[in-house]
């Protein structure tokens, strides 16, 4: 039998994988995917806790998170595209104009 605790554990694993990905990868596109992974891990946790407590709040918030994620991707990909056009590179380490 799969209990809600299993879902929470999966969410933690996904969140850690996403977080480590954001921290160690240089490619902006991959970093974006990792951020999406973290968001979905949080969504999973919300759903699991909503099921656990028998309320609907968590499910509603999951929808909100999805909307925010979609908007974030739109803006983020646009920035990413323009950076790639300007610098011929998707590496985040190259974009350091605001250094110091």
């Amino acid at each position: 039998m799969i209990s809600p605790a299993h879902y929470v554990a999966l969410a933690v694993i996904l969140f850690v994988i996403g977080g480590v990905g954001v921290l160690i990868r240089r490619n902006a596109l991959v970093m974006f995917m990792c951020v999406e992974l973290m968001l979905n891990a949080v969504n999973l946790a919300f759903i699991a806790f909503a099921r656990l407590h028998g309320g609907l709040d968590g499910q509603v918030i999951a929808f909100f998170v999805m909307v925010v994620a979609a908007a974030e991707v739109v803006v983020g990909l646009a920035i990413l595209t323009s950076i790639f056009r300007a610098r011929k590179s998707a590496s985040v380490d190259d974009a350091n104009l605001l250094k110091n």
Binding site: L23, V92, A95
Partner: protein, 639 residues
């Protein structure tokens, strides 16, 4: 001492209802001349003269109405408008007080002033800025008129400051030379010290009596504490000292000779220096209540009359010798005003007579200067009596008037002051009377010296000097003033005409003056002795072209008895040290603290900036660490 109570001031009627016209004429003249620019160059000076004369004519009409009114109905107050309509208790209506005292001043200012303006038409004929000069002169007359006809101290103060401004503009009129602007600034600063005294007096009046009008202050002053009355008197005296060039604020008057000669005449005869005497006499109800304040006034007057006379003895500059004499004569007026009800009318009488003969003397000196290519050193004059006959005769009239030879006006107005000083009684009376008597002797000495050095003896002229008589536009005012020098004193003083006229305002003195009283005879002897000494030194002997070194007294008098040196060492140097100290404190102390804080912040920020590495992933790491710390803290608090 019996004192008739000051008469009631009634609302203005008849022509007095338009008393504002008195101020309007010269104000309009000044506005047109100063705003009109070069377009008014051709006729501007005559507009200035006309406006001044219009004020004079209107003043005569006011006097005629006043003389026609019954006694007790002569003091008229014309409310013009409300300047400050009651902020709290502070209510300042602008009203014009036309009474016996102010009409005397109105006629002196506009009458003698107009004559000086006519003279200036000729004197300034070659000056390209003549129009501007006449604009300032009209401004001067307007401000002085406001000063004497205002019915409250605040409006008087406006005129007081206007006079200060106009004198500053006129003394520094020839601003392309280095000396006049310096002299103008000196006059302005010395006057500011006095102005501070007057403004403090006005504030004290408002704080004590809740009023700044003459009527309001004088009706309340009886109930004030003696200390307050004395303080008021001393503050008013400080104001008067500034404007009237009395000790210790006398230093500006001699330097003010840098202005064109008509300005000197106007400042010394009709306007400006008379303002201090006016202030004291107008504030008679305050001074009547404080014997201490009156004593200080007499001391200042007596000291200044000797001080000015001594300076006059050593000056080779004809205008500066006359300036010393003005200081001295105003000292007589202050002395008389300080004697209380006995002397107020005498002070005004001497002031009016002085207006005539001093204006005449200055205009004569100006004519000489004008014809001698702006030379003012009397050692370069000599023998001018035969060349400039009209100037010589009019100057002689002024000379006889100032030293007090009967029947010239100084005899009738100065000797009663000496008598009144002796009549004060006690030690102070004897000292003051003696000082005034000695002053008369010194006056005779230095004025005779001026006469001999300028008009008699060998011609010690510069090679390029070709003096001849001044044009009629300059000599005719001098002639009129000479007639005044002859007749004014007798007209005012015989049968106590002026004293009775002014009585309702300043109180009638019980003393009746018989001319040729013993003291008057002694004064006459002293005067003749002084003149004889001057004749022995400058008439009989040859006058050296270069000034001899002189003894220590002469050297001191040439340096204005070290008045400037005193101001410099006691006031200016410590003031400079104070400013230097505050500059040092400002730079090192205040600026130091502020700069240290700024440098610390700047340096710290520069180091903090290194944290911004530009690596997105390190930012992400710091965000993660921060989030973990926040969550950890929340959990810790929960537990």
């Amino acid at each position: 001492m019996t004192l008739t109570s000051p008469e009631l001031t009634l609302p203005a009627i008849g022509v007095a209802h338009a008393a504002w016209l008195l101020l309007a004429f010269p104000s309009v003249g000044a506005a047109v001349l100063l705003l009109g620019g070069r377009r008014t160059n051709a006729w501007g000076h005559w507009l200035g003269v006309t406006m001044s004369l219009a004020s004079f004519v209107y003043g005569v009409v006011l006097l005629a109405q006043m003389l026609g009114a019954r006694a007790g109905g002569r003091s008229r107050d014309d409310h013009v408008f409300t300047w400050i309509p009651g902020i709290g208790r502070f209510h300042v209506p602008i009203g014009l007080l036309i009474d016996q005292l102010s009409i005397c001043f109105v006629l002196l200012i506009t009458g003698v002033g107009s004559l000086i303006l006519i003279y200036a038409v000729g004197y300034m004929a070659k000056d390209p800025e003549r129009r501007r000069f006449f604009g300032y002169l009209n401004l001067f007359i307007a401000a002085m008129l406001l000063l004497v006809v205002a019915d409250n101290y605040v409006a008087l103060y406006v005129g007081w400051e206007g006079v200060g401004l106009a004198s500053y503009l006129l003394i520094g009129f020839w601003s392309y030379n280095p000396a006049p602007p310096v002299a103008a600034k000196k006059a302005f600063i010395a006057n500011r010290v006095g102005d501070a005294g007057l403004s403090l007096a006005i504030m004290l009046m408002f704080a004590q009596f809740g009023s700044v009008s003459f009527a309001g202050v004088f009706s309340e002053v009886h109930s004030a504490k003696p200390g307050v009355v004395t303080a008021l008197g001393l503050l008013l005296l400080l104001g008067a000292c500034g404007k009237s060039a009395q000790l210790p604020l006398q230093s500006w008057l001699l330097d003010a000779m840098e202005g064109p000669t008509p300005v000197s005449a106007l400042i010394h005869a009709a306007t400006m220096v008379t303002a201090g005497v006016y202030l004291i006499v107008r504030s008679a109800p305050i001074f009547n209540l404080s014997a201490n304040a009156r004593l200080v006034v007499t001391i200042v007057g007596a000291a200044t009359l000797l001080f000015g006379a001594l300076i006059g003895c050593a000056k080779d500059d004809i205008k500066k010798a006359l300036a010393g004499s003005t200081m001295s004569q105003i000292g007589y007026m202050m002395l008389a005003a300080g004697l209380g009800p006995v002397g107020y009318a005498l002070a005004i009488a001497h002031l009016l007579a002085h207006g005539f003969f001093k204006a005449g003397l200055f205009l004569g000196a100006g004519a000489v200067k004008h014809e001698m290519n702006d030379e003012v050193d009397m050692r370069r004059f000599g023998g001018l009596a035969t060349v400039m006959k009209i100037t010589f005769v009019t100057f002689t009239f002024g000379y006889l008037a100032i030293i007090g030879i009967p029947p010239f006006s100084g005899f009738f107005t100065k000797d009663p002051i000496i008598e009144a000083a002796f009549a004060k009684g006690g030690t102070s009376g004897a000292i003051l009377g003696t000082a005034a008597m000695i002053g008369a002797g010194i006056t005779a000495f230095y004025m005779t010296r001026v006469m001999f050095m300028t008009f008699a003896g060998r011609r010690r002229w510069n090679d390029d000097a070709h003096p001849h008589e001044a044009p009629p536009v300059m000599t005719s005012p001098m002639v009129i003033l000479a007639v005044g020098s002859l007749g004014a004193g007798g007209f005012l003083m015989i049968s106590n005409r002026l004293i009775n006229f002014l009585g309702p305002v300043v109180g009638t003195p019980p003393l009746s003056h018989g001319f040729f009283a013993p003291i008057s005879d002694i004064a006459l002897v002293v005067v003749v002795a002084g003149a004889a000494v001057a004749w022995a030194m400058y008439g009989r002997r040859e006058v050296a072209v270069t000034a001899p070194r002189g003894n220590f007294a002469t050297v001191a008098a040439r340096k204005d008895l070290y008045g400037d040196a005193f101001n410099e060492s006691v006031l200016m140097r410590p003031g400079q040290w104070l400013t230097r100290l505050s500059v040092f404190f400002d730079n090192r102390g205040v600026d130091g603290i502020v700069n240290t804080i700024a440098a610390t912040m700047g340096g710290g920020s520069g180091r903090l900036r290194r944290v911004q590495t530009g690596f997105v992933r390190s930012y992400a790491l710091s965000m993660l660490v921060g989030a973990v710390l926040v969550v950890g803290a929340l959990i810790l608090v929960r537990l």
